[in-house]
Subunit: 331 residues, 3 copies
């Protein structure tokens, strides 16, 4: 698949005419970042760029007209469900929003996830699933004949978040190879950090991991980084990395992780992004965050053009539009 | 109304052009199976077949463009609400989903169902109502000037379920007359069994009712069956009917119905559908279930081509598409 | 802006062609009735009339195709959210419905309203916000770059309700100037009464305020009425105003407002609208209510052609369609 030679998705003179594309993702489930090699990443990013242009020029299209998305959230996540709903609607498709209180319904009657998924696939052409238990998306995909997109399965994966994170780095800085990327905060439990790190191993980057001792990157991921021959360092203070970082990927250090609260109070300032800290950073770099934040990036940083976290949110919609179109054979 | 001469609903060359049809259902409420004589059933089934073909060929249409459905669920039922939402969206209409927490809103301020319905009809062209109390749909229909579709009113009726059940029998086996149909499980409280039975009285079928003693078919329905001159038998064990049944309509025997749990343990195996039991069944027959199930059909039966319960779910969408189009004068 | 010369919004021969209009509201937030002078009111009412004609002739349009509305309700209000959802869908736009349980999601993770709004504006072109706290809509608007429409901020404002109330008076009676308008019930806490009163100060009307002593109109609003030179009287009994009123705007007197329940029992009959009372009213007048009601207008009044409260609900959809199209530059 040569991205340069992709036929254009949108013909702005005849928006309604669409073709079925063969892209290696048609009919596939999206469960893990491990499915995405560089070719597939290039492909999704190229389509996401087309989605952005389309949204900015005309807002929406009929590309997925006649298609229905079942948005099945067993735990609420307004940001993620809203992103998928907007993505599907801007592509002209319909949405079954099951984003609240699933526990009170079929599940409370004792129905299993497998039966719920096999029911929804009778109505919908694609299922987006959020579930608190690791492996739920895989199980759903095993039973469903329509594509299942994992929108987070507890401590498992959240692949569309990792894709939008990587896409944001690429679009903001024009490249990925050669960048110095610092991950900051809770690197132990931070699912988004783990997934993004795995994707980055395909590129020629330097990685810096900044966390309290008890929240260091898990051993198995650290070993993958080392095995990939990546230039890597760990540190306890964001001040150590601020001057050279091209990307500061910030996550929340949760008070609840500390058994000794005085320990938390002692370290927390080392992971906060303040205007003073940003003065030491490069002119051209970006601050990212998967959101929501709770004080780890000061509000006064929001006006800094290097604050990329809301643009990152918007990229999520474009990535999800590209994925929905791809798995449905329309991109 | 001669179904054979129905003008086709979809012209695949000029999908957008639609006419207003006079079908005896336009503007009508759908409250009870008693509204459906054989002519109306034939009509709805013919339209449902067209809906299926349309969905399979193009996914969706603009037949109900400019129409809005208010989906008002006073108790959650993900399966039923999802089915109606998908049906409306595949027909190009809009949906107001009020499927969660209605109790916290207008109703909690003391508003009556009558006022809620008269409010929603200002926004919507048709109202689908699910309510825990028998008679709620009739009351809503008395107040609303737009069509009201009963999506279940407690121990009352759930007519669209009965229609999709009958449609499934017809589509799976090619006919209704001449079939041996066995209803299994909780025949006393099973609303779907009662409604389907009433519809079947219009046909030349044999009925077998298989249940524990305390969950036998209510007297008044049994008498209707007898009065209709139907060949009928009651039994306590599904093994008694498995060899001859063309249709096995299975429902759940709930533990909670038994005051003496040892009694439940004693009888429950007589109502479970296992692969072993299926070996004794005809080659060409079907197993149905209104879902959700909790063990009464073993998961290993799912791979049997005679397991029709998920196809049954899909038929629900087509039947609801046909009904929505019909009451809105578009089919 | 001369309303008489407005280019028509809908060309029924070529519905899909739309232009971008400059109307003074494009890109603006709708936060308060104080934004609406007579010119803007005339403009919105003219557009709302076009919306009504369009809905009555064809049901829906593609005017806002490619636009997405985020409907963010921090407290449930089925009536208001349904009205906005129907409005957006009839205009061909998409909706992200966040109308239940927002507290369980992003907010419960500690996210602020500002971050939620800046997230949603990445997906949506306009945000409708309902929030229990006064000032929430203003705060959201300060942060959002897309238009924010206030759908009620606690004891603050609910401008679209006031606009639909005024529009109803204008459409039902053909004019506003010269009318005698009586506000009845809880005038102290009734947000809708305050907002409608403020809008009416721009017209040459007579106002009558009918309430129990402890629920009289707040001082500051009463003084605005007096300063505007409006003919005004306060009274304790609706019987005092029934004969001359052109408009009876009724609100609920809540039992909970009275510390002494015997006092409530003593006065409540003076604020109830009964068929007997209506016999004393003019032939041509209207009874309005923001709904929901709890007994303050007897059900037997509903059949009186002067009972305008459900038509008032319907006008809400047309006003919101006009506002959505206006702020998005499409009307």
């Amino acid at each position: 698949m040569n991205v340069k030679q992709l036929p254009p998705l949108f013909n702005f003179e005849a928006m309604e005419k669409t073709a079925v594309f063969s892209n290696g993702l048609t009919g596939q489930d999206i469960l893990s970042v491990s499915q995405f090699d560089k070719d597939k990443l290039d492909y999704i990013f190229a389509r996401a760029r087309e989605m952005r242009e389309m949204v900015e020029r005309v807002g929406g299209t009929d590309l997925l007209k006649g298609h229905v998305l079942a948005c099945l959230f067993y735990e609420p996540s307004t940001r993620t469900s809203s992103s998928f709903i907007a993505a599907m609607e801007r592509l002209g498709g319909g949405v079954i929003p099951i984003t609240q209180g699933v526990k009170f319904s079929s599940v409370s009657k004792g129905e299993t996830l497998a039966d719920t998924v096999r029911t929804l696939e009778q109505y919908a052409d694609v299922i987006v699933l959020r579930h608190p238990e690791m492996g739920a998306a895989k199980l759903a995909a095993d039973y469903a004949s329509v594509p299942v997109i994992n929108a987070g399965d507890g401590p498992g994966e959240h692949p569309t978040q990792a894709l939008l994170d990587l896409f944001t780095i690429r679009e903001e800085l024009g490249r990925i190879d050669g960048l110095k990327i610092a991950m900051v905060g809770d690197l132990r439990y931070g699912r988004t950090v783990h997934s993004l790190t795995k994707l980055l191993l395909q590129y020629n980057v330097s990685l810096r991991f900044v966390s309290p001792e008890i929240l260091r990157l898990p051993l198995n991921i650290m070993n993958q980084v080392i095995d990939a021959g990546i230039n890597v360092r760990e540190t306890h203070d964001v001040a150590d990395v601020i001057e050279n970082a091209d990307v500061l990927y910030v996550t929340r250090v949760q008070k609840e992780r500390f058994s000794d609260l005085s320990q938390y109070e002692e370290v927390k300032d080392h992971y906060e992004i303040t205007p003073e800290l940003m003065q030491k950073a490069k002119k051209k770099m970006i601050v990212m965050h998967p959101l929501p934040r709770v004080g780890e990036i000061h509000y006064s940083v929001d006006h800094d053009p290097r604050a990329a976290y809301f643009r990152q949110v918007r990229n999520g919609m474009f990535i999800r539009m590209a994925l929905l179109a791809a798995v449905l054979g329309k991109a």
